[in-house]
């Protein structure tokens, strides 16, 4: 089964044999890929019990839980890498969640849709209604995405949380990824989404 391009790009960032926590691991496609191709010691946290059961039946180590409430229970610095894929915009407290991720893992990989993409900006400007695009398809009243942000917003949050950006990738509308200058204005306009590899500057005290 081919991995979604953004997940494939994330998988590229993971070193062999790493201890990985995938927060919001869905049906476990990325975790399974990582354990098969990179021999990682993988764990997952997933909100949907149905997804959790499917993961465990596939032999993955996954528990049901909520990124907003359950990350506090994880001990500090036990994972080489924590992944949060396309989820931060759906959490109640993105700043707290990011703080926990930086505490739990030595590195954090995080991906999210870019609300600064030109199609989103144009859609709001042209129609005067909450933007709906291919990646943000829901109506404003039934979207799980309650904390959308732009790449520039996220870069600012990494500074607030004391995180260092080790790598930044732009997700293109074609579904491919390319390196980007996270602080520049153009990627914030052109990228549909972003993947960041972060490291806590002062591990454990970033909340």
């Amino acid at each position: 089964m081919a991995l979604r391009p953004d997940l494939a790009a994330i998988a590229e960032m993971i070193p062999k044999g790493a201890r990985v926590l995938d927060v919001g691991c869905g049906d476990g496609a990325l975790l399974e890929h990582l354990s098969q191709t990179k021999n990682v010691d993988g764990r997952g946290l997933e909100l949907s019990q149905q997804n959790v059961n499917a993961c465990v039946a596939r032999g993955l180590s996954v528990i049901q839980g909520d990124a907003d409430t359950d990350l506090g229970e994880y001990p500090s610095q036990v994972f080489d890498l924590v992944i949060l894929s396309q989820t931060i915009q759906a959490t109640w407290e993105p700043k707290t969640v990011l703080g926990h991720l930086l505490r739990i893992g030595r590195h954090v990989v995080i991906s999210f849709p870019n609300f600064g993409h030109w199609k989103v900006r144009l859609s709001l400007l042209a129609h005067g209604r909450m933007p709906r695009t291919k990646t943000l398809a829901d109506e404003w009243y039934d979207t799980p995405n309650i904390h959308l942000c732009t790449i520039a917003d996220f870069v600012a949050l990494t500074q607030t949380c004391g995180a260092e950006i080790e790598q930044a990738l732009a997700l293109t509308p074609e579904g491919t990824t390319r390196p980007m200058e996270a602080h520049a204005w153009l990627p914030n306009l052109m990228a549909e989404g972003a993947i960041f590899l972060l490291r806590a500057n002062d591990a454990g005290t970033s909340i």
Binding site: D41, R43, Q49, V52, N53, C55, V56, A57, R58, G59, L60, S61, V62, I63, Q64, G65, D70, E73, Y74, P75, V78
Partner: protein
Amino acid sequence: MSDPVFLRPLTAPDADKGQAVVFGPDRALPLDSGRSLAPWTIAYKTYGTLNAERTNAVLICHALTGDQFVASSHPVTGKPGWWEIMVGPGKPIDTDRLFVICSNVIGGCMGSSGPAECDPATGETYGLSFPLITIRDMVRAQAMLIDHLGIGKLLSVIGGSMGGMQALQWAASYPERVVSAMPIACAARHSAQNIAFHEVGRQAIMADPDWYGGSYYSRGTQPSKGLAVARMAAHITYLSEPALQRKFGRTLQNKGGISFLFAPDFQVESYLHHQGTSFVDRFDANSYLYITRAMDYFDLAADHGGVLAEAFLGTKTRFCIISFSSDWLFPTAENKRVAHAINAAAGNVSFVDIKSDRGHDAFLLDEPEMFSTVRGFLNSVAANEGVA
């Protein structure tokens, strides 16, 4: 090794009676109460074949009223094994590739040392002179059996309800010997409500005039009525309100209408009566007292300074915890609490809650999602350990 001795008449004398190990006076079983048992016996049954590397052994721990006959006919009742749906050739716990061991708990009444057995020191039946036992004592006894069988590590320790308590205790007591553990429909402690129900059962037994302070054996009687009531009360806790409603509703035994008598009018009454009376044919009342007490005493966190995560600190064991949504005896939240504690100890844990309206007993029933979980987890553990 010898054949276990059963106290009850065998309905199925041709059934495989399993085996028993007698540990002599030099191999005493130390107990949490400070007392010890010597000599003592543990009865068990195995299924499948131990591989040359001795890496495919799985221990199944039975629940309160279970026994070692997990996947073969019960010699006393002649009924199929209590978990044949789960254990056997090609089943989720596949005896074609795994060596399955199941032993009767200490304090039980299917061949292991218990209150109904003869005290070698006095030549008389133990009765209440049998020492109080704990879940940890049961596990300590199992560990000596596993040693005796020449097995260092268990690929998995699996059990539901009280069996799940034992699986957790195994992982806490002998982390280096337990590759994986599957505690199902259980908790790291017995709740106040659970202790309360057990006390109802014990009081029913002790209120029966045929109990004679626990020394009914020599009088050729047993507190059948008390034990049946204990079983009836307990059985309600194994089901769920919707399951009872679906199964029985207010359906009457006699289609003619209510009798205006206290004989069973409702089908649910007859069902409970049947559960009670069939139970006394195969179970010892004193064993019921001892084993319920062991469950009441179980509190894994209390053994570790009140912090459950401490019980699993540094554990290399892989855990898979399964709960059932309608289980109010060992609710999902209690199971989840264990999962989160293992997580907090940086342990490797999966947690699956299965939607079912069949209550606590669901773990013994046809629950496909449980089967796929058990199969997937065991496959993954076996692959990691290089078990073919």
